[in-house]
């Protein structure tokens, strides 16, 4: 397995398959009364979060704890060393000196995990860096899709929303195209990144035209703080053209599913009642996130030379 997970590009399709298959066992662990296995006993995982993200941090923390690792959380709040002007590199080396085995890093600056991986011995896992990538989100998304469709091959996935600023979109496009799915990015032109051709995805500005063809409708969070960048005239106008409401759900294939990385803006990219539909698997994504992150931590830290069938889940 790889030493660091910085980008989906680092994983081959067979490695992705391995992560997903291994996650099956850990998903089962999460259904037990005693939700803990001793695989990473004595190992230390640090959640290094320079940008607040309660759900991702909790998911990683639960994953590490269910594997019996010791977990420390470092958040860049006012009392941390960051406020005192300590550099990113010094912070990294301090953690290294304390002997952590893995650093799960969330940072508002794209490439921060790449920088970190050059300075530390520990495994670095990217938990979201700026508008670059969020590889574990893509892996849990694949896992969740796999629960509904027999194969990724030829599956049609539409990713709708602020592609320009979305690390989720970058990781999902890379992961899905790698697995043979066809991705269509749906957004107003101002939210489509420049020079998009090399992504291997189709582009559409018209959600209603695309909806009937899709197996998966993946909605991205509209970041309200970007309102002043004049990318769309208003949230109302966004919802009018690119929001998923009941009327548009009726354009979808009967078996098509709805996904969202959370947190949702109900009433903007997704209507409140649509979020709670049977075909919306947003809550399953959260559950699967823990299992997929357990799988990754196990493969990257605990079982590099152990065969898959020896996974001690009993």
């Amino acid at each position: 397995m790889i030493k660091h997970l910085l980008s989906i590009d680092q994983l081959s399709p067979s490695q992705i398959e391995l992560v997903l298959k291994t996650a099956d066992s850990f998903r089962e662990v999460g259904t037990r009364t005693i939700k803990k296995v001793p695989i990473l006993r004595g190992r230390t995982v640090c959640n290094l979060f320079f940008e607040s993200s309660t759900r991702t941090r909790i998911s990683f923390e639960l994953a590490a704890k269910r594997l019996s690792a010791d977990v420390i959380n470092f958040t860049g709040d006012a009392r941390s060393s960051l406020a005192k002007g300590e550099s990113f590199k010094d912070t990294a080396q301090t953690l290294q000196a304390m002997g952590v085995d893995a650093i799960v890093v969330r940072h508002s600056s794209a490439g921060a995990p790449h920088r970190l991986s050059r300075w530390v011995e520990a495994s670095v896992i990217n938990a979201g860096d700026g508008a670059h990538e969020h590889p574990t989100q893509a892996l849990l998304d694949l896992y969740s899709i796999r629960e509904h469709f027999p194969s990724f091959d030829g599956l049609r996935v539409g990713i709708v929303g602020d592609i320009l600023h979305s690390r989720v979109a970058r990781s999902d496009v890379a992961a899905l195209t790698k697995m043979g799915s066809q991705v269509t990015l749906v957004a107003p032109p101002t939210l489509i990144p420049p020079a998009i051709d090399s992504w291997g995805a189709e582009i559409s500005y018209d959600l209603e035209e695309v909806l009937p063809k899709l197996d998966v409708v993946y909605l991205l969070r509209v970041q309200k703080e970007r309102q002043n960048e004049q990318l769309v005239p208003s949230l109302r106008e966004y919802a009018t053209f690119w929001g998923l409401d009941r009327r548009r759900v009726d354009l979808m294939k009967p078996e098509a599913i709805i996904m969202h990385p959370g947190p949702m803006n109900r009433g903007v990219e997704i209507a409140a009642d649509v979020a709670d539909l049977e075909r919306s698997i947003i809550i399953d994504q959260v559950t699967n996130g823990v299992a997929v992150r357990m799988s990754l931590l196990y493969l990257m830290l605990g079982a590099a030379d152990r065969a898959l069938e020896e996974v001690p889940v009993g």
């Binding site: 590199k89 700026g130 670059h132 970058r170 420049p194 090399s198």
Partner: protein, 442 residues
């Protein structure tokens, strides 16, 4: 001052229309004789057989950081870096602290350079006070003070206000000065960290579109036409910028342009690992831009090569990509990059290279005694280099105080053997002369 005979080198001197094997005799700081089989008399004979002898390189664009950031570079360390790169004249940008927006700072920079006696240090003045883009700097005072400032720029930023730039151009024209611009429409590029394109999209970094440079350049050329001012475009980096300059020259406007070794050889693909040593402004562009820029250099649309040597402290570069300042150092690697990539690559002849690194930039800056011709009576400002020497860049050996070099660990072709400034050997085999400087107190 000891006399020197450079024996057996190939003199490449576009200004003197010379390209031949000959000896060069230096006496009293000046060229005494050029010819074959010269009698050394009592001169020290330096055998430069197989090497190229050329007028010393002239860099229209360096950042020496003094005054203000002496931890990053000083006029002394920057001059030493220039010596090791074969430069006998360097033009220091005004974005120091305090800003070179007045005669006092300009004279201090020039005088320190003279005192060191390693290379000619020519201060550039700012166009606006404090580089703020609001009020004209003391252009007349700087132009007429002992430093004789000739080139004015707010480098690091372009002047955003068109009316203010127009006034600056009109005013400096009266002093025979040059308006040089870092062409950048910041309303388009603000917040960007790299070239906008395929790689910025993939890396999730906000881009600086090529159009930000082109829009500002086109505006500046329109204003140069309006005012009749001499205009020099700093570090041109895009394909359409080359076309804009070509058109301006075809229209007969007094416009010149420089390009850097990095924009001529590196692309935005270099940023895939978020290595901050490749973060620079203007950013590294696409392969197409590099190709067109090279063609522009070959056909003379781009007049000269300038390094934009920009030292940054290690702790500032060792940060998140978006937090790291843009800029890289280039004085000590320029020859190796240009020889290897552009001369060996067949784009430029040796004569073309010397023209673009010495003859033409010396003319742009109006420097007497720089850029050749290498003829009796002229100041002896020379570089001697081995055009075929291959060497691996070790930033630890740089004379510069900084290490932010994108070519670290790379093999370059062409190495400076000797730098002669005003008739003295100031650099030899990678070492700066430790002899007392010209202006040192006895």
């Amino acid at each position: 001052m000891a006399d020197i005979l450079l024996r057996g080198g190939r003199l490449v001197d576009p200004a003197g229309e010379a390209d031949a094997t000959c000896d060069v005799l230096i006496s009293g700081g000046r060229i005494e004789a050029v010819g074959t089989g010269l009698d050394p008399g009592r001169a020290e004979v330096i055998d430069v057989d197989g090497a190229i002898v050329a007028p010393g390189f002239v860099d229209t664009h360096v950042h020496l950081r003094e005054p203000g950031r002496e931890d990053e570079e000083t006029i002394a360390s920057g001059s030493a870096a220039a010596v090791l790169g074969g430069y006998t004249a360097i033009c220091a940008m005004p974005n120091t602290d305090p800003v070179c927006d007045n005669a006092a700072v300009a004279e201090k920079v020039a005088a320190t350079g003279s005192f060191l006696g390693l290379t000619q240090v020519i201060p550039a003045g700012s166009l606006t006070q404090g580089l703020q883009g609001k009020h004209l700097a003391a252009i007349g005072e700087m132009a007429t003070c002992n430093a004789r400032v000739r080139l004015f720029t707010d480098d690091g930023h372009g002047v955003q206000d068109a009316r203010l730039l127009r006034r600056a151009m009109e005013y400096l024209k009266g002093f025979g000065a040059i308006c040089a611009e870092h062409c950048d429409d910041e309303s388009l590029s603000e917040g960007g960290h790299m070239h906008e394109g395929e790689y910025s999209s993939r890396l999730g970094l906000r881009g600086q579109p090529a159009e930000a440079e082109e829009l500002a350049l086109a505006r500046d050329i329109v204003l140069a036409r309006l005012t009749g001012a001499r205009f020099h475009a700093l570090h041109v980096s895009t394909a359409r910028s080359v076309a804009i300059i070509r058109q301006a020259k075809a229209d007969g406007l007094p416009v010149t342009a420089e390009a850097t070794p990095h924009h001529l050889t590196l692309t935005d693909a270099c940023l895939v690992d978020y290595d901050t040593n490749f973060k620079v402004n203007p950013p590294l562009r696409s392969p197409h831009d590099v190709e067109v820029l090279r063609a522009g250099l070959a056909d003379g649309t781009i007049d000269n090569i300038a390094t934009d040597h920009a030292p940054h402290a290690a702790q500032e570069k060792e940060a998140e990509f978006e937090a790291a300042p843009p800029g890289l150092i280039g004085l000590e690697t320029a020859l190796g990059v240009i020889m290897g990539e552009l001369v060996e690559g067949g784009l430029l002849t040796l004569g073309d290279m010397v023209r673009r690194m010495s003859t033409t930039p010396a003319r742009i800056l109006g420097l007497e005694g720089q850029g050749g011709p290498v003829v009796p009576g002229a100041w002896a400002n020379l570089v001697v280099f081995d055009p075929g020497a291959r060497w691996t860049v070790d930033p630890g050996k740089f004379a510069s105080r900084c290490r932010n070099c994108p070519w670290a660990g790379k093999e370059l072709v062409g190495r400076v053997l000797l730098t002669v400034f005003q008739g003295r050997v100031v650099g030899r085999d990678g070492q700066v002369s430790t002899a007392a400087p010209l202006g040192a107190f006895a």
